[in-house]
Symmetry: C2
Subunit: 409 residues, 2 copies
């Protein structure tokens, strides 16, 4: 059987949640423990209550809505995160929370008690937009948050996470209580953030693996000089070295295979004056691959390419690794349930990798986990143009609900 | 005859002026009409008085010290500017003021009245560090400052130049009174800001031509995307386009001839987040050449190179010209006086172009003008490492004084 979702309710959820943290130009800024975040979690909690779910907020601000089963000792969990990147969109994370809510609402409306308990979660943090706390919500649930973390982490204004938690009524000393051992499975619906589904004309995607990721800070040090007095062949121009290195690395990754990605998103060119040859550049590198050995091979080759160019140009180069996340393979049984559910709903589906990171990559290391992708228009994401058609939101929620019904009833 | 300069006094001038605006790490920040600037002009005015010169401050804050001649209707002017670039050095501009002061001090000490009046000037502004007011001091003297300029120009904090002038006791409505018509010649001593003299082992340089300069703001617009979800071949990465364009242009200018220079000193990569493919880059281009036709040819070719790469990558590119200064050829008679003076002082000299811009390039369009270069250690300039050996400072001032003696006595 397939579970239907009310399109009007789904549209209302997306629209109303999308107003909390909306910027004047249409992008979103909803960061962990800020005002828009707190309003959003309250709004979601209210909707969970209206849906007939048992609502609970844990010590880090994750919000849960539960549909208890005959066996209430284990939980099948669905959901995603409520926070956004700076100038982000309305769908990344949020749609997974709302689809999970709509799914459990539809299942609760069946009037039958499930065998296993079902729960939807609105996770407090995934994007590291305010604190370098990536996956804070799922980490807290898995018992992976250190006791000192809230006091140690500071935002750009110097506000500690502990202070920010207190401001929204949370007790930073209680983070350990967020740990739970009853989660038997995790299923996350998310926008694709790419255009594989759109290009293929396929309704939903079943994720096979979540990409591994390396973040490094690269510092290129040349020599600051006068732009007029210094002949071209007497320069140690840091930004020219960084430009050549970044284009050579980008070409290498693009030409090696289709699964690799590399991005140099942040550039701090110093001193940043038109008539001064830059002496130093600090830039970020985001390197991804779906296969652990290939990710390592790419990272090694990237360092060789950079060192060769730096040596030829006579500049110094250093790398500091800030993140190192291995690829996470999704659970076969759960993937099959999603594929079957898509068929039950008359939706076309395909297997695909996730280039982006998700709470599911961490959850998947500890409990059976699967992800369901819905199409992103033009593949746009992490920007105000991020959009998923209402019918794709509803279809995704319906496939999710149908899969949860298969698993829990 | 040659005029000697007191080495101890010269060293004291450099040291004491170099303390005003010095940063904790040793670089300099002395910007038009700020506190360090006002202290510096007061200090220089005091030294001029002690040297027996007649001191005057004009409406824009240029400070003059005059040694009146038998014919007091025309003036042979020497000097340079007192302001610095951000994180600049102690010699750029300042040494020309101090050498001119020391030269006139030595000439005054002769006890003879010159035929023609001599004057040293500490110009208020040359670097555009605080206001986009390049050559404000020399422009005011030449009557090239518009009446609305002080009210219109704003610094990074939104303070208008008119407000900044008022704060240091100047009347912004009086800028027109700074114009003067009595300047018969201008001679500027300056550090080389390159290492031609150092490499050749030559004591002083006689400038033949001051480079022409084009400043443009380049905007590259691609598409902001998720770093994980967007395959490499589906991106319109603005920073990768900017990197390729800047390296291709740099290669073209470097390989065409030895007189061209190009620098991309300022990069604003947006939104500047590690996991977001940059959607827009704003970067500065500083393009120079000593020959007007060659500067134009380089600028045209640069635009062709950029447009070709942008079209191939599918990104938009725009150029806005912020400055367009043609090369300025120095006065032959004044150059001969400097060459003769160097010989009188037993100093080796050579002709060379100036890659950097100077007040002399503007002065040279209106009055006979020449420049005398002293060596820069390792060619370093516009940085805290900028340095000229004390004996080179003294030798330069002595050659300057000897040339002024030839011209005015």
């Amino acid at each position: 059987m397939n579970i239907d979702i009310d399109p009007q309710k789904m549209a209302r959820y997306v629209e109303e949640l999308g107003r909390l943290g909306e910027l004047p130009d249409g992008g979103m800024a909803r960061f962990q423990y800020d005002v828009a975040w707190a309003q959003a979690q309250d709004l979601v909690a209210g909707w969970m209550r209206e849906a007939g779910l048992r609502v609970r907020r844990d010590a880090v601000g994750n919000v849960f809505g539960r549909l208890p089963g005959a066996d209430d000792s284990a939980t099948i969990l669905t959901g995603s995160h409520i926070d956004t990147v700076p100038e982000g969109g309305k769908y990344d994370g949020a749609l997974g929370v709302l689809a999970g809510l709509a799914a459990l609402e539809a299942l609760a409306a069946l009037g039958e008690r499930p065998r296993t308990s079902l729960e939807v979660v609105s996770l407090c943090e995934e994007e590291s937009s305010r604190y370098q706390a990536n996956f804070f919500g799922s980490r807290a649930m898995l018992g992976l948050v250190g006791p000192d973390e809230p006091a140690t982490l500071k935002d750009a204004d110097g506000v500690s996470m502990a202070e920010a938690m207190t401001a929204v009524g949370l007790d930073p000393s209680a983070v350990a209580t967020a740990k739970r051992d009853d989660v038997a499975a995790f299923v996350e619906l998310h926008i694709e953030q790419g255009k594989v589904l759109e290009t293929a004309g396929t309704d939903v995607g079943i994720v096979e693996v979540i990409t591994g990721l390396v973040w490094e800070e690269i510092v290129v040090t040349g020599r600051q000089d006068h732009a007029g007095g210094t002949p071209m062949d007497a320069r140690l121009d840091a930004v020219q070295a960084a430009a050549e290195i970044s284009t050579a690395i980008t070409r290498h990754v693009a030409e090696t295979d289709k699964a690799g990605r590399v991005t140099f998103g942040r550039w701090d060119v110093r001193p940043g004056w038109p008539s001064i040859v830059p002496g130093e550049v600090v830039l970020s590198m985001d390197l991804r691959h779906t296969v652990a050995e290939d990710l390592k091979a790419r990272a090694d080759e990237v360092h060789r390419i950079a060192a060769t160019i730096a040596a030829r140009r006579g500049v110094e180069i250093t790398f500091e690794r800030l993140k190192d996340e291995t690829p996470t393979v999704m659970d076969t049984r759960l993937r099959e349930a999603l594929t079957q559910a898509a068929a039950d709903c008359g939706a076309t589906s395909m297997d695909l990798p996730s280039g982006a990171g998700h709470d599911s990559q961490l959850m998947g290391e500890h409990v059976p986990t699967a992800m369901l992708f819905v199409p992103s228009v033009e593949g746009r994401s992490h920007c105000k143009e991020e959009y998923t058609h209402p019918e794709d939101c509803v279809r995704g929620a319906s496939v999710l609900a149908t899969a949860l019904h298969r698993m829990a009833f």
